[in-house]
């Protein structure tokens, strides 16, 4: 177990190095030079003299690798530079956004799990009945709906037609409902399909037949099935973090939820490169670390893998 974690940590280190390099390269390769971008983002009239001075201040006259090294070392100290737009620290901006995004993601994940596990159980136990067919069809439809479409349709029917909810998500619980729904519907749909397959596999195992033959109450049998399936569920949840991160950008932009995604979209429309850079680096770090935790926990939960 120790060597496994060690190996994974080493892997993580080099992946993060490569990720940070690519992130930096991406911004470096953007057309136009950073000094004029910064000045135009601030709305300053550009003269050659000012440009040269800004270039000097930003250290743009140094070789590429030196610039990268400088940026990466600062990033390690959680200093991602300042926003071109308003000069605020990028780290602070990201931190504020992150808190809101985490709230949104956790709430959506909780909804998804609370809905999908019972539904998946129902479809697995009542396999090939009409209940199974209806839920599977709905989950198929949900899986085919782009999240921006769900948002717009929900907004139209719930906010404008029925006037049940506010259009712009304020920080109240009511404001959180729509973004969470929009974010969790596609994920719930996918979970139902994946969990159903896992539950079906578990239900075919001899321990289920044995327990049923001994007259164990069905609810206990299902509890054991859930227990056995928990490793798979855990992995599937871990893997869906990427979808959540990507989806939250769209959802936050639509509902004006002040999270990371909205920050990133605003930064894109303002050509505020340090913020975009920080956003890509932060989300990738979250993604990679969550994947690592999932893998390590997987090895830790499953005794068969632990012994190796």
């Amino acid at each position: 177990m120790g060597t496994y974690i060690g190996k994974r940590m080493l892997h993580l280190l080099w992946i993060m190095l490569a990720v940070s390099f690519l992130t930096f390269l991406l911004m470096y390769l953007t057309p136009g030079d950073a000094a004029s971008k910064k000045l135009s983002a601030q709305g300053v009239a550009v003269s050659e003299e000012v440009l040269e001075k800004t270039r000097e201040n930003m250290g743009l006259n140094r070789p590429f690798l030196v610039q990268y090294g400088d940026w990466a070392l600062h990033a390690l100290r959680l200093d991602l530079g300042t926003s071109y737009k308003d000069g605020f620290s990028v780290t602070e901006k990201l931190w504020k956004g992150l808190k809101n995004t985490v709230i949104l993601m956790l709430a959506s994940m909780a909804i998804s799990l609370l809905v999908s596990i019972p539904l998946a159980f129902l479809t697995a136990v009542k396999k090939n009945s009409w209940v199974d067919h209806v839920i599977r069809f709905l989950s198929f439809v949900g899986n085919s709906l782009p999240n921006f479409l769900i948002s717009v349709l929900l907004m139209y029917y719930l906010c404008i037609k029925a006037r049940l909810l506010p259009v712009v998500a304020d920080k109240s619980l009511k404001g959180l409902i729509l973004p969470c729904l929009a974010l969790s519907i596609p994920i719930t749909s996918r979970f139902v399909r994946q969990f159903r397959a896992e539950f079906l596999e578990q239900l075919c195992k001899p321990f289920v037949a044995g327990a049923r033959a001994r007259g164990v109450i069905e609810i206990y049998v299902l509890w054991d099935v859930l227990h056995n399936a928990s490793i798979t569920i855990f992995t599937i949840v871990g893997l869906s973090i990427g979808t959540l991160l990507g989806g939250s950008v769209v959802i936050e932009t639509i509902f004006r939820w002040p999270g990371l995604g909205k920050l990133a979209m605003d930064a894109i429309s303002n050509r505020d490169y340090p913020v975009i850079q920080g956003f890509v680096l932060l989300t990738s770090t979250i993604y990679v670390v969550v994947n690592l935790i999932t893998d390590v926990t997987y090895h830790w939960i499953d005794p068969r893998l632990r012994e190796r």
């Binding site: 085919s144 782009p146 921006f148 139209y156 979808t243 990507g246 990738s284």
Partner: protein
């Protein structure tokens, strides 16, 4: 080869039905210009946000453009870009995976490490960043999604090659002096195509959603080019006045993605039942 599954006739019928439907959609997108009742790009101040009528079967948007024609032309953009994006990533990824698996060593290391790094970015996040920086356009949106898209096929192809390498018939081909290129194309490729095609088929819907999502955010296909995602984005502010301008492209997107997803599912049902649900 894994043991062959015997498939019910139903699975084949389903596959043909959805192949037919998808083919019909592709055909529709090709002949779209002939079917448009109006010019999809002509704006008109008289018919702004006009309700569906005889002249405009699905109404008009805020610039007075015919929604029906734009939805038809949008089919072209959405279907063409998704199918060709899957085609390109499928080809590039498979070839790279094939090379990595067959030659091993340094080449394998470089290709697969590159794939590892690309997989460290959440796909949509990287796509948004890349498309945002490149500044929109269909090609840029495709590029943004393709950067991570190829890794799926590369990993799969490599795993297949590593498994097939040990097969006697591959060894035989090698011993009889076939060139690497010949072994790859005539011996390996036909035997590993199944899972790759299954994944490609299921990816069409995913890519369609991705491209529409980028366009919706304003960093994919941009106005005035007709595309469903950007049409929905343009009209959503006026949804109270002209709900048809949102609902028509929305329904088109849902139906198209569903048909291609169903196609993906039925391809999987026929070609292999072993992969994840």
């Amino acid at each position: 080869m894994k043991q062959r599954n015997y498939h019910s006739l139903k699975a084949y019928v389903r596959l043909w039905i959805f192949l037919g439907l998808a083919g019909f959609l592709i055909l529709l997108s090709i002949v779209a210009p002939l079917l448009c009742p109006n010019d999809p790009y002509t704006t008109s101040s008289e018919f702004m946000n006009h309700a569906p009528c005889a002249q405009f079967p699905m109404g008009t948007d805020r610039y007075g453009r015919c929604i029906c024609s734009r939805v038809l032309m949008g089919a072209r953009t959405s279907i063409f870009s998704a199918v060709s994006l899957v085609g390109i990533t499928f080809f590039v990824g498979s070839v790279l995976g094939l090379i990595a698996g067959w030659f091993g060593g340094v080449i394998d290391g470089v290709i697969m490490r590159l794939a590892d790094v690309m997989l460290a970015f959440p796909q949509m996040v990287l796509a948004i960043a890349v498309a945002g920086i490149l500044g929109g356009g269909m090609i840029n949106a495709m590029l943004a999604l393709g950067i991570t898209g190829w890794t799926l096929y590369a990993r799969l192809a490599r795993a297949q090659v590593l498994a097939l390498k040990k097969e006697p018939y591959v060894q035989a081909a090698r011993l009889s002096g076939c060139s690497a290129l010949r072994i790859m194309t005539t011996t390996l490729l036909p035997n590993m195509l199944g899972p790759l095609v299954v994944n490609a088929a299921t990816q069409i819907g995913v890519m369609m959603i991705g491209i529409a999502g980028l366009s919706f955010l304003g960093i994919g296909v941009t106005e005035p080019q007709a595309e469903w995602g950007s049409m929905i984005n343009l009209s959503r502010a006026y949804v109270q006045l002209a709900p048809w301008a949102v609902l028509a492209p929305a329904m088109a997107t849902i139906l198209t993605v569903m048909i291609f997803n169903m196609l993906g599912d039925s391809v999987r049902d026929v070609l292999d039942r072993g992969t994840e649900a």
